[in-house]
Structures are given as structure tokens and as C-alpha cells.
């Protein structure tokens, strides 16, 4: 009689899990980002904020912003609030990485190799990175309060994966976004909706020039 009872209990538990755990089903959504002329936008960050406001805490993951050939790689990164980021220098010259951004002010004075301690990004927001030695070096880290994010490639496409079913506000951000204070937002219901698209109003790109000029070399 005992085995029969335990089988019934297992069956009931299975039914309960099936009924109650629809929110645990992993969903995904494809996002495309285009500019106002319809061209694909690369390096746009897409992230999903649960409408309930409850997102899991940051997972321990290895995040790096490298310096290679006197450029930051990648140009745009995204991390969850509380994440630690390493800044390995793969060049044979020293770099002096800094940020003045309110979301994270820090400085890694002249160094080679990989600093022993990572930088912890503990506030959401945009962090602009620079190098005090090589003025043309610039990169961005977007710190978001959610683990569900992605960065678009050259085709302007990104995929958000492993989201529990539910309602989300999906936001899109890019360094050239004209209205940095209010990234465009769309509400979606997962898994009912499997794709969405953004059209971003972008400023022209102005990055400091690396190529030599005829009219002075201010950075030296």
C-alpha cells in the first residue's frame, strides 16, 4: 500500500508543478534595431526588465573589456548591476583607463597586463571608458538591473534568451542615442510574443581621430 501512496503523491506533485510553473518556462525574443533611415544598428544594447521589478541577482561571470591594438574591445559591453569587470591590457604599451561617469567613477593608472582586482559596477547607468594616454580610445559599459540582455551585431539583431514567461519592458540603448535619458521602451508578454523591433534616433558618430593630422598633435 505504501508504494501506491507514494506514486500518487508523485503524480500530484507533478500536476502541481505543471500548473504552477508556467512562469518558469524559458522564453526567448528576437529583437532588431534600425536607425531612422532603416539601416541596421550595431552595438545597441537590448535588455528586458521584468514588469514585476524582480530580477535575479547578478551571476558570477567573467566579464572583460580588453585593450588591444590601442582600442577597447568590445566597444560596447553590458553587465548586470553588481558585476565585476576586468580590464586586461594586451598591448605592449601601458594604458591608463578611467571613467568620469556618475554610474562608476574609477581610474586604473598606468598599467600593463591584467590588474589583479576587477572593477565592480554597482550602480545602473552608462559608463564611458577612456584612456588617458591614447585619447582616441573609447568604450561603453551599460550597467543594467537585469540578467537578460544582449548586444546587436552588424545586422542589428539580438536575441534575449532564457527569460521566464511573463511581462517585460524591453529597452534599447546605443552610445549615439539622441535621448540618453529615456531609452525607447516596449512592453512584451512572453512567450506569447517572439520578436520585436526598435527604431532609434541616433546622433552622428564623433569619435576622436587616431590618424595623424597636419595641424598639431595636441594629444602629445
Amino acid at each position: 500500500m505504501a508504494p501506491h501512496r507514494s506514486f500518487s503523491s508523485l503524480l500530484v506533485a507533478l500536476c502541481l508543478w505543471c500548473c504552477c510553473s508556467s512562469s518558469a518556462i524559458a522564453a526567448e525574443i528576437a529583437v532588431t534595431v534600425r536607425d531612422s533611415r532603416g539601416a541596421p544598428v550595431r552595438d545597441a544594447v537590448i535588455y528586458a526588465l521584468p514588469v514585476t521589478g524582480k530580477a535575479p541577482p547578478a551571476r558570477r561571470q567573467k566579464v572583460e573589456v580588453q585593450q588591444r591594438d590601442q582600442q577597447f574591445l568590445p566597444y560596447v559591453s553590458v553587465v548586470q548591476t553588481g558585476s565585476a569587470v576586468l580590464f586586461p591590457n594586451n598591448d605592449d604599451v601601458k594604458h591608463h583607463v578611467y571613467s568620469f561617469s556618475p554610474a562608476k567613477k574609477f581610474e586604473l593608472p598606468l598599467y600593463a597586463g591584467t590588474p589583479a582586482e576587477p572593477i565592480v559596477f554597482d550602480k545602473p547607468g552608462v559608463v564611458t571608458l577612456g584612456c588617458n594616454i591614447h585619447d582616441w580610445m573609447i568604450a561603453y559599459v551599460l550597467v543594467v538591473p537585469t540578467p537578460w540582455f544582449a548586444v546587436t551585431g552588424a545586422d542589428g539583431a539580438a536575441q534575449l534568451r532564457n527569460l521566464p514567461a511573463g511581462a517585460y519592458d524591453i529597452e534599447a540603448w546605443q552610445p549615439r542615442l539622441r535621448n540618453q535619458a529615456q531609452p525607447p521602451r516596449q512592453r512584451v508578454n512572453l512567450p506569447a510574443q517572439s520578436s520585436t523591433a526598435f527604431q532609434l534616433d541616433l546622433k552622428p558618430e564623433v569619435r576622436l581621430r587616431r590618424s595623424p593630422t597636419d595641424s598639431g598633435d595636441g594629444y602629445r
Binding site: K94, A112, N132, E205, R209, R210, S211, D214, S215, G216
Partner: protein
């Protein structure tokens, strides 16, 4: 001869500092090269149209050295400099200059937007095809600059120039004040505008007789660079130069540059103007 000794001393001193600095502080290598063709419609600096001569010149310039951080905001740059220039018509001006430059740049803050002050000194020796012009040359000065917005950078500078010849006729000292603005249309295209005020000795060539110039001169002498009957006059004057440049990046380390200069020199009743066009390719590694 004293100038030559001084130049050698400066070069040896700079080399010693360079070696010492590179041993103690790691930094970046400077390898800047430029090839240029230019046209000057008044290479003779003449005030009368009949005396004016124009010419094209071709030049190759190299600056090789090192820059590194001595402190958080302080950068030292040391380079060895070389320039070779050849004129198509008036070969007396053909020359080779070997020299060295040292500069210290202090940034008030961090990053590209921080204002900076740079002090700079250079010395070299010029060897001309016309031996009379051979001599040491020195330049020292200060530049202040600030990138006002992402696209716009402003600079102002003062320099003192001392150019020596093997005869006094070619000795020139001048004070120079300059202001420049650079505007980045894009990451690849930059436009610059600059103004320069120079107060100091110039050399103007004119056919004799010029009794009107004689009272102004520091020194004068017959020089046949532009043909028989020409006299070179060394006198103090004020020169205003307006420059407009466009620079187009081809790669991260290569650019083509076009520059136009309008020069206006005057002293009392004597005035001459010049127009200079320069087309150059620059490479920096």
C-alpha cells in the same frame, strides 16, 4: 662654430635624457613621417611683382622618438627630427635639417577634454646647398590647448625662433604668437583654421637698386639665388599668416592633408604677400 657646438651639446643632452627616461619609464614609440609637395608663389619674399619668384618644393620629414608618462598628468616626448627639402627651380634653398625636440605636457585633469600646457624646445642644424644659409636653429615655446567639445579643439601658443646662418645676413630671430582651431567633421575628416603673428627678422630679395629698403635693414648682401642683380635684405618685420587646412584620414595611421597659407609681411612702407599651398601624406606608427 659656437652654434654648432651648442647644437651638438643639445642633441647629446636630449639623447642622454631619452635613454635615461626610456630605462626608467616605459612608454610609446613615436614614428611620424611626412611627405610633402608645396608651392610658394613668392619664395623670394619680394614686394615688387617683377622681383617675385615662385617655386615648388618636395620634402620628406621624420620624427622618431618616445613619449611616456613621468607622472599621472605629465608627459615627456623626445624625438629625433630630420627634414630634407628640394626645390625645383631655386636649388640654393635645398636643405637637410637634423635635430631633436623635447616637450613636456601637463594635463589639468584626465582625458581628452582636459586642458593642457605644453612646453617645448627643439634644436637642429641645417645644411643648405647654398653654404651661406648653413647654421643651427632653435625653437622654444609654450602651447595651451583645450578640446571644447567632442568636435572642436582650440590651441594658443608662443614660440621664440632663432635661425642662424653661416653669415649674419641669414641670422633671424622672431617671436611668434599663434592660435588654431580644429573641427572634426567626422572621425576621418578634420578642418583647421589658424592665425599666426610673427615679429622678427625676415629676408627679402629684390633687384638693386632699392634705396627705399636700405634704411630698414639689419644687414644686406648680394645673393644670386634668383639671378644676377638681386640683393638679399635682412630686416625686422611683422608677418601675419592665415592658414586653412583639411585633413582626411585614410587609415588609422595614414592621412592626406591639404593646407593653404596666406602670408602678409610689412615694415614701414614695405609690404609683401605670399600664398603657399601644401599637399602632404602623413604616417604615424
Amino acid at each position: 662654430m659656437n652654434r654648432l657646438r651648442l647644437t651638438r651639446s643639445v642633441a647629446i643632452g636630449l639623447a642622454a635624457v631619452l635613454l635615461a627616461a626610456t630605462r626608467t619609464v616605459s612608454g610609446d614609440i613615436v614614428r611620424d613621417f611626412r611627405a610633402e609637395v608645396s608651392y610658394d608663389d613668392n619664395v623670394s619674399n619680394s614686394d615688387r611683382g617683377a622681383d617675385q619668384r615662385d617655386d615648388f618644393s618636395f620634402a620628406a620629414l621624420a620624427h622618431v622618438g618616445w613619449f611616456g608618462e613621468l607622472a599621472r598628468n605629465l608627459r615627456l616626448t623626445l624625438t629625433a627630427d630630420a627634414e630634407a627639402r628640394a626645390f625645383t627651380e631655386y636649388s640654393d634653398f635645398n636643405h637637410i635639417i637634423i635635430g631633436a625636440t623635447g616637450s613636456l605636457r601637463y594635463r589639468i585633469g584626465l582625458g581628452a577634454m582636459a586642458p593642457f600646457v605644453r612646453v617645448e624646445a627643439s634644436g637642429g642644424y641645417a645644411n643648405f646647398q647654398q653654404d651661406l644659409q648653413d647654421g643651427a636653429r632653435y625653437r622654444a615655446g609654450l602651447t595651451i590647448g583645450k578640446r571644447v567639445i567632442d568636435r572642436l579643439a582650440l590651441e594658443g601658443s608662443y614660440f621664440f625662433d632663432d635661425i642662424g646662418g653661416s653669415v649674419r645676413l641669414f641670422d633671424r630671430c622672431s617671436h611668434l604668437l599663434a592660435a588654431s582651431a580644429r573641427w572634426d567633421f567626422s572621425e576621418k575628416t578634420q578642418v583647421s583654421f589658424d592665425y599666426e603673428f610673427r615679429d622678427g627678422a625676415v629676408i627679402s630679395y629684390a633687384r638693386r637698386p632699392r634705396p627705399d629698403i636700405v634704411p630698414l635693414v639689419n644687414t644686406q648682401g648680394p645673393v644670386e639665388t634668383f639671378g644676377p642683380g638681386y640683393e638679399a635684405y635682412n630686416f625686422d618685420a611683422v608677418t601675419h599668416t592665415l592658414g586653412l587646412g583639411v585633413s582626411q584620414a585614410l587609415t588609422q595611421s595614414l592621412s592626406v592633408n591639404f593646407r593653404y597659407e596666406w602670408q602678409h609681411t610689412s615694415r614701414a612702407h614695405l609690404t609683401y604677400t605670399g600664398n603657399v599651398l601644401r599637399l602632404s601624406a602623413r604616417a604615424s606608427f
